[in-house]
Subunit: 402 residues, 2 copies
């Protein structure tokens, strides 16, 4: 939908929309289990929503494409993930809860070990403990300064991983990785692909050479490798695009960051599922759209723990029971991608979805599961259309043309 057409269609009202996202929801049969995790789970609450609403199967990007968390969520928020490309460095900054501005270039960093000849001996510096990472980052922040008033921010991620953000005018992100990807080679020199990126390379080099001097007596982490340089170009917000004042409720920083990327307000980290519910209730009147993110369906899938993923789904099903008392106009339950325990990884399989609203035309689906969803009225659809379907069911879209 072109922004100028979208703009003509949007209207606002007091309706509330919930997008409940179970990360990596879609699954596969595994071993003795002939059904998927979702099909095996006992989900009476979601089955009832499915019975009253409509179901389908979503392709986050397009058939066959396995999405990362970034594209998966952008599609859920209605941003075509093939049009809005988010660089790896930017995603890492989101993942440490860092608030980027339009003057920022971000990159992922690895602490590494250089040998006496300056060649990479260990690309991950023996996976140093996070505490060592934090101590080294503090040391760097206290000692390394850039010229020309360029600011930098250095944030520990975990183990050997950190994030670098450079802030200044006219910076560019078209810069190669300094990580040679192999041991026995020296770090690569950064080179800029356009004028702003060549300007930026100057500060990257300043940063890295000061770090090298500063850490020369540390062991095993005596240097940093950089990759995934990316400029952050702010996206149009959910409020600008859809007129939706939006709140993200998520336990993990990456997903709060993805909400922030599209201009959502971010609730403080809720320590428990109960806290997620309290946050939702307390903010119910203040927002139009609620992005509620559950992570464990993905992490149990990545662990290959079929039984635990089933258990997590059942736990979230029970959590959904209380949603009816809020009387949302639209409830959407789906995932950002599939993470079958059988694959221990994100996958390309379409993601089951249910949409419940007063105005959804009933279909024949009475159970929330992959096979059942394929019989539903949503059909098989690109995820990017989902938000439009939700807006329509909330009576927030005007007629197109006369």
């Amino acid at each position: 939908m072109k922004p100028e057409i979208l703009k003509e269609l949007i209207t606002t009202n007091d309706s509330k929309i919930i997008f409940l996202i179970m990360d990596g929801l879609g699954g596969l049969p595994m071993g003795k289990h002939a059904d998927t995790e979702l099909e095996t789970a006992s989900t009476p609450i979601l089955d009832q929503f499915a019975t009253e609403g409509i179901c389908g199967a979503l392709d986050p990007v397009s058939p066959g494409i396995t999405p990362g968390s970034g594209p998966g969520h952008l599609a859920l928020f209605g941003y075509d993930p093939l049009e809005f490309l988010i660089g790896r460095g930017v995603l890492s900054a989101l993942g440490v809860d860092f608030t980027l501005t339009g003057r920022d270039v971000a990159a992922r960093l690895n602490f590494c070990t250089l040998d006496k000849e300056g060649k990479v001996a260990d690309r991950r510096a023996g996976r140093i403990p996070t505490e060592t990472n934090q101590r080294l980052c503090e040391k760097i922040r206290a000692n390394v300064k850039l010229s020309d008033g360029i600011e930098y921010f250095l944030e520990t991620e975990s183990e050997h991983r950190a994030v670098l953000v450079l802030r200044g005018d006219k910076l560019g992100g078209d810069i190669n990785d300094t990580d040679p990807q192999k041991i026995g080679l020296p770090p690569r020199e950064p080179v800029g692909g356009d004028e702003n990126s060549r300007r930026t390379v100057k500060y990257v080099k300043e940063f890295l050479s000061q770090v090298r001097t500063l850490l020369k007596d540390e062991h095993p982490a005596n240097m940093l490798l950089a990759r995934g340089f990316a400029r952050f170009d702010p996206l149009p917000t959910m409020e600008e695009r859809y007129g939706l004042k939006s709140l993200a409720i998520a336990q993990y920083p990456m997903y709060r960051g993805l909400g922030r990327l599209v201009g959502m307000d971010i609730a403080p980290k809720p320590p428990t599922y109960e806290a997620m519910w309290q946050t939702l209730k307390e903010n119910w009147k203040k927002y139009d759209f609620f992005f509620i993110h559950f992570k464990k369906t993905d992490s149990t899938g990545e662990d290959g723990d079929y039984e635990k993923k089933v258990h997590v789904i059942e736990e979230i099903d029970r959590w959904c029971g209380q949603l009816r008392e809020l009387n949302p106009a639209v409830l959407v339950v789906t995932g950002d991608h599939s993470t079958p325990s059988a694959l221990k990884n994100h996958s390309w399989h379409p993601v089951p979805v249910l949409l419940w609203s007063q105005y959804s035309r009933p279909d024949i689906v009475t159970r929330f599961g992959e096979r059942d969803c394929h019989k539903g009225a949503i059909g098989r659809m690109a995820t990017k259309h989902l938000i439009m379907l939700a807006l329509a069911n909330a009576l927030r879209l005007k007629k197109f043309g006369a």
Copy 2:
């Protein structure tokens, strides 16, 4: 489908294609009715076509978008409604059976009441009777003349509504509404957004100022407000795109107009369903493609009259019984959008479709209804692809590539 690719694929033969359109066909459950209007209606004829053919659910524009009649029909004719945008003034001209040319700019007019200070006291002049509208239009046509040989056409729509068409070289339609949308304000001055539109504003002002003088002693309709200015850019015709010599059979002017928009020949208004059948039979040998439009499924839906919509569908079902004697190559039955009685309005819900031909691969659907259609072989599809499916089933498309 890009025009240059389409052109390579088209071939012609003697096959006949019927598109039978029930306006606003799709529905919703309502009150005591747990099924939609189409599901409730007894449709043995259409059920038999559905059994022999294939079914599905169509999105006229894209999921969630509620289409007007213009985009809904363009999609049926295979013109992407997000690419071929038809201005409101142009649609209104089509709606009064006016034949536009490539030198025309059209606008919608409202007779209104101005107070003594020249401010709008009633934007609809108390919804004057259509007869008053006709008398005033006649008076204007007899007295108002434009300079530089610019022609104008003024046509009564109904009540306070009329249509203005300006005809001349290099006219433009990028002109704001003069309707201030509120009472207590004077009409807005028209301003052109580009060179041709600025030229056109001169004649709009000439027209409106003469009208103001001429009607100053009329009451309550003493002025006109204009909105929806739009230039008419002729579309490629159905014959140019698909090699289909096409006939529109429709009782309402808007739909004859939409047929005319894509170069169809237009049968004279058939007063009854029986006359529609006679028109179809008499023209059977002369055309390749027949667009047959039934309006009452939409108007009963807009009235919220569930029972009457059911009745109209049953009436059209019986009408379809006679189609087999013509032996069409392809029969398509669908709508341009949904108009559920429960919503009294066009809606975003997908539209049930059946396509019957000698070569359609049978699916499991044996009833023509929304829930059944979702099980069909067409799946959920954008309406714009439907014409290609019809052409294929009429063996009118060559192989793409070797």
